[in-house]
Amino acid sequence: MLTVTHYTILSAILFAIGALTFLIRRNPLIMFMGIELMLNAVNLAFVAFARFLNNMEGQVFVFIVLTVAAAEVAVGLALVVAIFRARDNVDVDEIDALKG
């Protein structure tokens, strides 16, 4: 019988992979995808709990996470485009202008 833990385990795995993507890849696009992965993992956990706790607030939150994710991607990619135009290649390691 499926229980909450099945879903949460899956979301944990997805979250870990998302984090891994973010850390390993140097191309900011892929990193954003990593972030999307993590966000989705969280969404999954939300929905799972909503389902098993008979509480619809989880779904509402997912809704909000969706908007946040969308906004985040929009701005992120705009940034990437702007950086790309300034340097004609995109590599996170070289972008260290904000050095302390």
């Binding site: 701005v75 990619l77 590599d91």
Partner: protein
């Protein structure tokens, strides 16, 4: 044998495996396009999960927003920039190894936390039967516009800001030269 439960189990494991593999695909994909596509797969697998978890409205939203808007945006940007193939891990190997170790550790820890935790009593009043009887969208709408109205407003403001931000950042400068000078001073 409760066929319903069995069916549910199979579907879950199927899509779970799909999601994980697709996620891994995102990690190791050399070209961004292939990564974007595998990301799409993940979105779809999750959409299926939502249906399984009795949240059809969210499933549709997931497909439309994530798979639809976000992914297309990714593909669009990839097309605009068509960046070189990017090698995995980059120069800093120590960084990569450390990242892998800690990511795995994170996953293991979270799983342990979930397994160890006792399932909380289902005390909400939105049982699946009640939900399907009243209708998903109505409930979400009711909740969204009653208790979480403030949240809703903030989300809308956030989106507005994001839009404006994105536009200004990515705007192609007409007088490229003036702007640059401005930045450098």
């Amino acid at each position: 044998m409760d066929y319903g439960a069995l069916m549910e189990g199979i579907v879950f494991y199927l899509f779970a495996a799909l999601a994980v593999l697709a996620a891994l695909g995102v990690v190791i994909a050399r070209s961004p396009i292939r990564a974007a596509l595998s990301l799409a797969l993940v979105f779809l697998a999750l959409a299926a999960m939502y249906i399984l978890l009795n949240a059809p409205f969210l499933a549709v939203a997931q497909i439309m927003i994530y798979a639809g808007a976000v992914l297309i945006l990714f593909l669009f940007v990839i097309m605009v920039l068509n960046p070189r193939l990017d090698i995995v891990g980059g120069r800093n190997h120590a960084q990569t190894i450390a990242a892998v170790i800690f990511a795995v550790a994170l996953g293991v820890l979270m799983i342990a936390a979930f397994v160890a935790g006792q399932p909380a009593p289902a005390l909400g009043q939105f049982t699946p039967e009640f939900v399907s009887q009243v209708g998903h969208v109505q409930i979400i709408g009711a909740l969204l516009f009653s208790d979480y109205l403030l949240l809703f407003e903030i989300a809308s403001v956030l989106l507005l800001v994001a839009i404006v931000g994105a536009m200004t950042l990515a705007r192609r400068e007409r007088d490229q030269h003036a702007n640059a000078k401005h930045d450098l001073r």
